[in-house]
């Protein structure tokens, strides 16, 4: 019963997303916004695997997303847009980048891990700015969007909406399967009590590094989708502020359950847009809302139903 109740909120959100095109939200602009929310949801989910699953707070996660997006750019400049090539390339290159930087970063912990991941993120950011062949600081406009077996159906807004929704659901499923597996249990054990995990004979390092590489690969997928959604890639995708945004989505959503990351991403993307439509000084409202969320939503958005139930019971 408890499990079922816990799944109610994410199911409702996914049902709403699936029904969105038929709820009068079919206007192109609204679908673009939702696609952006879902893509960032995929990236936030991969970060959740690190923060919520492994206790690894990364401030360089946007770099993984950016590496995936730049893989699309490099292939686009070479005239390759086929998903069978672009998708594995974006995922693998981002995972490889995560593996190499993670090998160094995982050795540290706490605030030092935050700063090392920030350092690698900044190095990737400045490298992207120096890629003059791909627009340098000005960014790069794609010649064509990714095709699937030569077909151009992902260019259709509605098709792209359901593609993002399907990938978001698949990512959430993957993260949940990973968490429940032996791999995930070791990862969580090393987060809760590293000494004990080590005493039981588990060296956390390879597990954490594997999680870091997997999260990098998923973020690379999000980068591919984001490049397709905007048909434009710029170094600003890799800026530390973007990494911060992803982290804020994860924290706002709550670390209790992976679907929190999806809630956090959608909440931040939609709230920003709606407030911005309402007033140019939307940050005056958005900022204090974040403070209030921290002060009063102890379990994040994902913990909201449980908190409401506890409130009703008194």
């Amino acid at each position: 019963m408890g499990r079922l109740r816990g799944a109610l909120l994410p199911l409702a959100v996914f049902a709403l997303l699936a029904a969105a095109p038929f709820l009068g939200l079919g206007a192109g602009y609204m679908l673009n916004l939702l696609a952006r929310g879902m893509i960032l949801g995929i990236a936030a989910l991969s970060l959740w695997l690190l923060v919520g699953g492994g206790g690894l707070v990364s401030l360089g996660h946007a770099a993984m997303l950016g590496v995936g997006a730049y893989a699309v750019v490099v292939l686009d400049a070479a005239g390759v847009t086929e998903a069978l090539v672009v998708l594995p390339a974006a995922v693998l290159v981002a995972a490889l980048f995560a593996l190499l930087t993670g090998a160094v970063a995982i050795g540290t912990s706490g605030v030092h891990f935050i700063m090392i991941t920030l350092a690698f993120g900044q190095m990737a950011f400045f490298t992207a700015g120096a890629l003059s062949a791909y627009g340098g600081d000005d960014g790069y406009t794609l010649y064509g969007r990714t095709t699937v077996l030569g077909a151009r159906w992902p260019e259709d807004r509605l098709a792209f909406h359901y593609l993002c929704l399907g990938l978001l659901a698949a990512t959430l499923g993957l993260v949940q399967v990973l968490l429940a597996s032996r791999f995930g249990r070791v990862l969580r054990a090393a987060k809760e009590n590293p000494q004990r995990a080590q005493a039981l004979g588990f060296n956390p390092y390879p597990y954490r590094l594997a999680a870091y590489a997997i999260a990098g690969g998923i973020a690379g997928l999000a980068g591919l989708l984001l490049a397709n959604a905007t048909e434009f890639v710029a170094p600003s995708y890799l800026a530390w502020q973007r990494s911060g945004d992803l982290l804020f989505m994860v924290i706002l959503g709550g670390l209790g359950a992976p679907h929190g990351a999806v809630l956090g991403a959608l909440a931040i993307v939609l709230l920003e847009e709606w407030l911005a439509e309402w007033t140019e000084h939307w940050r005056l409202i958005f900022g204090p809302l974040l403070v209030l969320a921290v002060l009063f939503l102890r379990g994040g958005l994902a913990g909201l139903p449980a908190q409401l139930r506890a409130l009703r019971r008194g």
Binding site: F120, F126, L252, G287, P288, L290, V294
Partner: protein, 307 residues
């Protein structure tokens, strides 16, 4: 590159380092003593610059502006502590990060609302105008030297406060073992307010002094914040001495790298790609240095925390 230009760049680097130290000192104490990650610390620097600019324009002179802006920056810091930060001390780091980010968003926008988006210009005070000949044929602005002197004087004062007074001893004790300090019956709430107020005022002071040489604009605290975090991690969290050494180091690396790297790259590359690669490498240099230092000394150059 001539030795003269190198000397000028080195002085610029030290002067930037001193400004960084003033911001980082408060950050490292707040983090070290209160175990509180305050992303909104960079905003204190921005507020200082805006308050200094406004009071200077209002009174018509830099000095009364400085005198009025300092207590105003202190008041802003204490108000924020009372309104928001106080409720976050017993929360985990991630909650602190999100809430203080909310404060950044609010204050950056509030500054835009009050002062507009256009950068403000603050004239250099007439007393410190002009240049001084350091060597034959080498003029250096007096105001920049004054910043360097003021920064070093503040660092000395802070060192005396932390190393030689009772309050300073409590601060050091808090940085090394906070639960023990509270168990010994020290009113940590009051100590936190003192540390927080001092930190906010120092950051504000840096902002006021930077106002005449940098443009005062919304979001100016964000880039300083990230470098200040690099400084406190290199220096060792909670260590004022570490923050000072690391701030000068980061200031020098950042400034010298920017002027030397493109020239260095020209030895290997054609001028145009050399400029681009040099600029990118120069921006990375600080982070590479941080990664190297942390690899060699994981707890920074001067670790403050015991055990």
């Amino acid at each position: 590159m001539s030795t003269q230009l190198l000397l000028v760049q080195a002085l610029n680097g030290l002067q930037f380092g001193v400004l960084l130290f003033l911001v980082a000192a408060g950050l490292t104490l707040v983090f070290g003593v209160m175990d509180f990650i305050n992303l909104a610390h960079g905003v204190q620097y921005m507020l200082g610059a805006y308050l200094g600019a406004s009071f200077a324009a209002w009174t018509g002179s830099f000095w009364p502006g400085l005198l009025l802006a300092l207590p105003a920056a202190l008041a802003c810091g204490l108000l924020l502590e009372w309104l928001v930060f106080r409720h976050l001390y017993d929360r985990d780091h991630l909650s602190q990060v999100l809430a203080t980010f909310g404060v950044i968003l609010f204050l950056n926008q509030a500054v835009k609302l009050v002062w507009g988006t256009a950068p403000l210009q603050v004239p250099v005070p007439s007393l410190l105008e002009g240049g001084i000949a350091l060597m034959p044929g080498l003029q250096y602005p007096v105001y920049r030297l004054a910043i360097l002197a003021a920064g070093i004087a503040t660092a000395l004062l802070l060192w005396l406060l932390v190393e030689r007074t009772r309050a300073g001893a409590l601060v050091r004790a808090g940085a090394s073992n906070r639960p023990m300090l509270a168990a010994l019956g020290v009113d940590t709430g009051r100590l936190f307010m003192l540390v927080f107020g001092c930190g906010a005022m120092l950051a504000g002071f840096a902002g006021i002094m930077a106002a005449p040489i940098l443009s005062v604009e919304p979001g100016m605290g964000d880039s300083v914040l990230i470098l200040a975090f690099v400084v406190i991690v290199i220096g060792g969290i909670g260590s004022v001495r570490g923050a000072f050494v690391a701030a000068l180091l980061v200031g020098l690396i950042e400034t010298l790298g920017r002027s030397l790297m493109p020239d260095l790259m020209r030895l290997f590359l054609a001028p145009s790609p050399a400029r681009q690669a040099g600029a990118a490498l120069a921006s990375m240099l600080v982070y590479v240095a941080m990664a190297l230092i942390l690899a060699a000394r994981p707890r920074g150059l001067f670790p403050a925390r015991a055990g």
